[in-house]
Symmetry: C2
Subunit: 109 residues, 2 copies
């Protein structure tokens, strides 16, 4: 996809995990490789996607690159969500019913 939307970027479970780790603060690539138990090239590829989407930024510290979250683009999600948010306020019962229907966790690997 030439210009993937923020939706698509964030739909990828591994990328969400990366962001969730970065939520705790700036991190070098090596840390992420350990945490995610993935190959370094694999992590770097995802970081590339996140960087291109403007969701993370990096700064150089000697040989390492420290990655930080840049939450700005997530506002796109948030504003798409806004009209729906109004709807589910006061319908939390429906959510509960839906969750009851689900036998197990979504396949998040």
């Amino acid at each position: 996809m030439s210009q993937p939307s923020t939706f698509e970027i964030v739909a990828e479970p591994t990328r969400r995990r990366i962001l969730d780790v970065l939520l705790t603060g700036e991190r070098p690539v090596g840390d992420l490789v350990e945490d995610l138990e993935m190959s370094q090239p694999g992590v770097s590829r995802h970081l590339r996607v996140l960087r291109d989407a403007g969701l993370v930024t990096s700064r150089t510290d000697a040989q390492r690159r420290l990655y930080t979250i840049n939450p700005g683009p997530l506002a796109e999600l948030d504003s798409w969500l806004a009209p729906y948010r109004r709807l589910w306020a006061g319908r939390l019962d429906q959510l509960a019913a839906h969750l009851d229907d689900m036998t197990d966790e979504p396949g998040e690997r």
Copy 2:
């Protein structure tokens, strides 16, 4: 994907369009076919996905099925977003910078 997450459901641009149309109220399938300029089986397949994800419900009106939004599952998105939302408050300047970097629209077809 056996149990696609709400993220994946909503990452699909056509499905977001369907939800956006339903935001204006209950609609029969035929309306959606017209609005989206898609084949009827195509629309029905997306509706199936949305229904399985609990994002829409249908009720029968004679031969027609009227679809309604069920925003409940979107709360999952919203709560994932919550920690990030705190971050971008007060960083709207960064968002602006990011948007300036983008030459054209994300490829949303």
